[in-house]
Symmetry: C2
């Protein structure tokens, strides 16, 4: 009996967890992963995962500063319903200001340091006159009564020195890298990427750029999966195409087992007469299982010389669906990166039928909440796939859906 | 009177269109952009935009092939309610098969070429016996009547040679690159990235890694925006921090005008007393305009020596919001890349208030359809921003929303 999509995904999660996450710690996977780390400049860390908890090396803001363009004041000077104050020399940006003398107001710009003695900022719009006097002039300004703390951004109000700023495993995007820069950091410790060996198999498969004889096709799986894996943050090791001799494939796997965290093959896992991956791994700790899914039903899963192994089917659409349904979500769950695909509810532009007992994944275009299928169910339709931007998920127990039915869509 | 978010975005679109899209063609912007192109290996094109319309250099599938493991047959042999046929030697994967003789059925695996004379495939499950005979044995098989074309994937049924495969401007992801590989291509012509000069300004701003004296802060805008721009496919030219002397900034802009497609500055655009960008560009074709948005209200827009110019405000949250609200969507609209941010409807975890007449963009975490704000409205809160994964859009005419209100969220 075929296993469910959820069951197989859980098996992939378990396989990766055992390899990538230390076993000596409790289940907080993000904190205990096992891959090692690299120190890299901030911008090289874009999209990668923080290796360790990062605590704020300084407070942000680093000092009390003004939220407005206006006058820094002692509010006690204005307690009696406001007052006319003498205007001190303005505070230059980026300088440590002099202490504010009683009876004075000092022009201050947004972000500038609040001087000692001042405890609030009155915005220029509330001053009379509501413009700054020319520098050097002997000016006065009328300001209203103001509560202490008004328009002051206090030191540490965003984050205080020593607090947890970003947890280990956080994916570093523009905002996270901006925070590290605000702390004054120039490098960051990120996890080493998971290294995957990717092998496409088949006597009928030819490298793009070579000549194509009758009966042969170009390898699209290798490019499609390497691109998917790179997008997901993996480091991909390619070996070219392995032919249909089990010994050829075994030699490739043996030659790389010590250097990779994961092995993925394409093709050779179904029930035909010439299934090279099944034959090569018959004596290994690898199961070949039917998953109740279309496309991508036949799957290999296990370990080769201790290294996690996944055998995807040989059609390009099956490869992409296998990656998106199993490997990518398992990486998200175990490592926190890549981010899961956005999931949306949408309406079908046209009705569909689906085989009973199989979770069907159709490809198509999501636009304005409507999902329009591209191409038929055939797993060889790589041009239809290339026109698609989303996958629709049809549960195993659904056999027919009308036009307009609400469906779950994963955005690629 | 402040301009609306939509008005300002349209102005940015117009500014970029004039630079990046040729004016001699009709409005199909994707087909006529103006940046030049590079030929790169397929995997280096990941995330980049196709420079030209790409027509299929060959048909896919490249030949009629089997959709199932089974027997290739002449359906006329089975017309009389099925028949017992002699089993021919199996078709090896990747080979040109011999023609099928009348009265014979030939074992064929999924993807293998249909032999001349055959016009359908009977799946192995429908054969009696339902297993393939050992090679070399003199075997027979009973097969049912079958309609012509059954389980045959016809040459060109995915795409025929010469048809438009991918339109100019298409963003190349795993599926699109997989299609190019299936065509046998090894390189692809992609648009040269848009080159942007990014200058952060301010006497108070110090490069990360240097020492910080009182009143100064580290530059986070540069890192935050460079990361955002790289993510969006731009090539970023950085020049370090420009101080508050207008001549310093002008020298930087003049020095790069001939090499870039766009200039972006941060800081110095509001109404304070020391606004270096405003002062430097007072005599140029640049407007400093209030946009009815919070944060990110003050914006500069125009041209410097003919090059499109955008002046973002100086706080990091304002920079990110300016990029996401104006520059990124304008690039998506004009060039087709990057893909627009996914938009979702969500419910507010807590009520909020918003200033009348200003479109407010708050930061927070979207999870399971619920949006929870991180930090207050202050545009200096870069740690709160780093905890966020989404922006909520509060229209200008909304002043208050209760807990549970439905809102539009952009997923970062």
């Amino acid at each position: 009996m075929p296993r469910s999509v959820a069951y197989h995904r859980a098996a992939v999660v378990e396989l990766l967890t055992a390899r990538l996450v230390g076993r000596t710690q409790p289940s907080d996977s993000a904190a205990v992963q096992n891959q090692g780390s690299d120190h890299v400049p901030l911008l090289e860390a874009l999209g990668r995962a923080l290796a360790v908890d990062l605590h704020a090396p300084r407070s942000l803001p680093p000092f009390d500063n003004s939220q407005m363009d206006g006058f820094a004041v002692r509010t006690s000077d204005l307690a009696d319903g406001g007052a006319v104050l003498k205007v001190a020399a303005p505070i230059p940006a980026g300088a440590a200001p002099e202490a504010l003398r009683p009876g004075f107001a000092v022009p201050i710009m947004t972000g500038a340091m609040i001087p000692e003695g001042a405890d609030a900022v009155v915005p220029i719009e509330k001053a009379v006159p509501d413009t700054f006097p020319a520098p050097g002039a002997d000016a006065e300004v009328r300001l209203p009564a103001t509560a202490p703390g008004t328009f002051v951004r206090n030191v540490g109000s965003d984050i205080a020195e020593g607090q947890l700023a970003l947890a280990a495993g956080t994916q570093l995007g523009p905002a996270q890298l901006g925070l590290l820069a605000a702390f004054g950091l120039t490098t960051v410790e990120v996890r080493r990427p998971v290294r995957v060996l990717l092998v496409t198999t088949g006597d009928e498969v030819v490298e793009p750029g070579q000549s194509l004889t009758a009966g042969k096709i170009f390898d699209s799986n290798g490019t499609l999966l390497e691109a998917s894996m790179r997008q997901a943050g993996l480091e991909v090791v390619r070996t070219g195409i392995s032919d249909d001799h089990p010994e050829s494939l075994l030699a490739v796997l043996r030659g790389h087992a010590a250097q990779v965290d994961l092995m993925v093959t394409t093709g050779g896992v179904s029930k035909g007469a010439y299934e090279v991956v099944r034959q090569a791994l018959a004596a290994e700790d690898v199961d070949f299982v039917p998953v109740a899914m279309q496309p991508g039903g036949p799957q290999g899963i296990g370990r080769f010389q201790g290294v996690p192994f996944l055998g995807f089917p040989g059609n390009p659409v099956s490869c992409l669906v296998s990656f998106e349904m199993f490997l990518r979500p398992a990486l998200s769950q175990v490592l926190g990166t890549p981010a899961p695909r956005p999931v949306q509810q949408a309406r079908l532009a046209a009705g569909l039928t689906s085989p009973d007992g199989k979770h069907q994944v159709r490809r198509g275009r999501l636009s304005n909440g409507v999902f329009r299928m591209e191409g038929g169910a055939g797993s060889h339709l790589v041009h239809a796939l290339a026109r698609s931007n989303a996958l629709v998920q049809i549960p195993a127990n659904v056999t027919e859906l009308p036009e307009g039915a609400e469906v779950e869509v994963w955005v690629l």
